[in-house]
Subunit: 419 residues, 2 copies
């Protein structure tokens, strides 16, 4: 069979194929490979948006706080928890990933007050690095961040991180799946190594949640944060999640002490008293509409099942990497993602010296939408609930066409889009 | 004329009456006096929600970041700015009020590093007091909060605050309109006094924005935060705003250093470098749907004009207080809001020993919806764009009916709703 027939056969046999019916495809010709940045819109979300805006807000007004909204951050967190390997009451929806990271990092540094160092790597999302540095500076007393370099810009520096673990390390924090190369850390092994040194561990699950099986409890992980707008399809900038292992709830203090973390917020008493459980890591009033729109999407991901999603994701990244090997490597593309499936998430990065021009040609001339990460990195997000095997072939065929015809040179001097 | 005729005449002559047509009233019999907690739904917001979800997210997908979303927090901030007396580039939509307060308080304490004290009052919203204490504790070096007591639980302790100003005060922070009594501070006078002592001033405008004219620039105020879901009708938990006076942009550092405050976020460089302008006070990805739904509502408030809104607000609070004086004081209600219009915002608090039972009887037996603040406080929010003079009479008539028939005793032992 040729590529087209192979892809068609795989799409026809795909046990997740019917899940595409749950999502909107207003432009059926668009090859959207950016679901790792903004997941597609579920149909159920449209209905939910109407209900929340028109009925819950417009009709029930303030009464909806009691009827639904006050519990929403924890209820949606509980719905998400099984996808993270977390238990009920361990996950909440709140704020942005960066703000949640700040809260948990400051809490962790204060809980390990005799230790000065935060270990991370240079594959971590830059905003995480910024937040870590800011938090360390604010807590003071010599706290600082050690950014361990990746050996090759693709793979996580696991051994180097483990080598640097000692009783001065308060916290190890990494992206479980790194944002550019898609490297997938061994959650259990790194957590165990950090714990052996007495450090806490915080995982950023932004590029992992909804794409790879995660077992926070099984690994004994302490803390996690992540966004909900990628493989969880929560919508643009949908609020983030935070996870705190149950046994740590009483030991960690949210430094941004707002009323949503208070034990009796509606007493309006002047002194702060942290409530029990995960709610103590909340701060201010949640953006309810954006929060509630996460719920139908998470239900779809849970219904599909993370094992089935992962199986298709591995098959799809293998397909793309196989075609890279055969067709794209000869055209000057490098693979900037780990080769073994066990060590990568659900996006694949391909480097090319003319990456930006190629990206723009894909978008403008081929209706293929990946994203671009400087300096030369094309990132293809394969979202198993909405991406077809045929889409991957279409993208590769477009890449071949662009580079062989030189169409990317039409975009010389262009600047990258903001996302 | 009797009360009914008087109110009907005032509603007929109300220059803002037509603005009611901009909002949804699915239950025309509901007397909603909680617009100070959650403003009503504008019709335009329903259309905007559909557009954002279905077109911008569903159809344009990631492209909407360039086409609209990346600039939204500043664009909506600029639309809001005139209602605060702020200039372009001085206001941004971000996070929650509590998170914004944290960011700006930490920034202020670090900018006034030789000074140890934060002055506030005990009428301030409790979440503000919690955040202040948490921020002071985190910055350390003896920073602490001084909560100046109100002389009577109703009026702001202006003189006592001014008396305590000295060169050890880093920051004065107050709610411009206090959440329970509705006391309205003199923005200009307090700001000037604080500045004379070399302190910075931060105003929480949550209960003021969209209800009273505010001139931050005229007063020379340094910092402000506030929510957008009350008189600005932004929707449940809609993201908050923050204001930083332009001349301070370069002097203050956001302590939660996320990528949205970076000067070149899409370079994904490992080191943080704060951008210029108000954007440096952003942190993580904004909840876009909740952010964009603020925009049509703010446009309506701006179109109505804050002076016209204030004129009607004063007339309506006077009407309610007049009826309190005549009809409710004899029934045991106390006025927990300042008597002079110049010293109050747009909500009126009435105390009664059986306040909670009366609140529940209003809601359940009379379809009148105020809110309740413990221990005994009924809070009536008069939102000039949606509240009729007739609504106020209906609420007072219901209060009279409840107390004279004793219907509130049906609710003995009930617990207050969470909001």
């Amino acid at each position: 069979m040729d590529d087209t027939a192979t892809a068609a056969a795989r799409d026809a046999a795909d046990p997740l194929a019917s899940f595409r019916d749950r999502f909107a495809f207003p432009d059926p010709d668009l090859v959207y490979l950016d679901g790792n940045s903004l997941g597609r819109l579920p149909h159920a979300t449209v209905a939910r948006a109407t209900d929340v805006v028109t009925r819950a807000w417009g009709e029930r007004l303030i009464r909806s706080w009691n009827e639904d909204w006050w519990e929403a951050p924890l209820r949606v967190g509980d719905a998400l928890a099984p996808l993270l390997g977390a238990g009920p009451g361990e996950v909440a929806i709140a704020d942005s990933t960066s703000v949640n990271l700040f809260k948990l990092v400051v809490a962790a540094l204060r809980a390990r007050s005799g230790r000065r160092r935060i270990l991370t790597d240079d594959l971590n999302f830059p905003s995480d690095l910024y937040v870590l540095a800011g938090a360390a500076d604010l807590v003071g007393d010599g706290r600082h961040v050690e950014v361990v370099p990746s050996p090759d810009g693709v793979h996580g520096p696991v051994d180097a991180i483990i080598d640097r673990l000692d009783d001065d390390v308060a916290l190890v924090t990494l992206s479980l799946v790194t944002f550019k190369s898609g490297y997938l850390y061994d959650l259990e092994a790194v957590t165990a190594a950090a714990h052996a040194a007495g450090a806490l561990v915080l995982w950023d699950l932004s590029h992992a949640a909804g794409a790879v099986p995660i077992d926070l409890e099984g690994a004994g992980a302490d803390l996690a944060v992540g966004c909900t707008y990628k493989y969880l399809n929560g919508g643009p900038g949908s609020p983030a999640f935070l996870y705190v292992r149950r046994r740590l709830h009483g030991q960690l203090q949210n430094p941004i002490t707002g009323w949503w973390g208070h034990t009796r917020p509606f007493d309006f008493s002047p002194g702060y008293a942290a409530t029990d459980g995960i709610r103590r890591f909340l701060t201010g009033t949640a953006p309810i509409i954006s929060t509630l729109l996460i719920e139908p999407a998470v239900a779809i991901v849970a219904e599909a099942g993370i094992e089935a999603i992962r199986a298709k994701s591995v098959a799809q990244t293998e397909q793309l990497i196989g075609r890279w090997e055969r067709d794209l490597a000869p055209l000057g593309f490098s693979l900037n993602t780990p080769r073994p499936a066990a060590r990568r998430g659900s996006h694949v990065s391909l480097g090319h010296p003319d990456g930006l021009g190629i990206d723009l040609a894909l978008i403008n001339d081929h209706n293929v939408l990946p994203d671009f990460r400087p300096p030369d990195n094309l990132r293809f997000g394969l979202a198993p609930l909405t991406t077809r095997y045929a889409d991957i072939d279409a993208a590769v065929d477009a890449l071949i066409d662009i580079v062989t015809t030189g169409r990317h040179r039409d975009y010389e001097g262009a600047r990258p889009a903001v996302t």
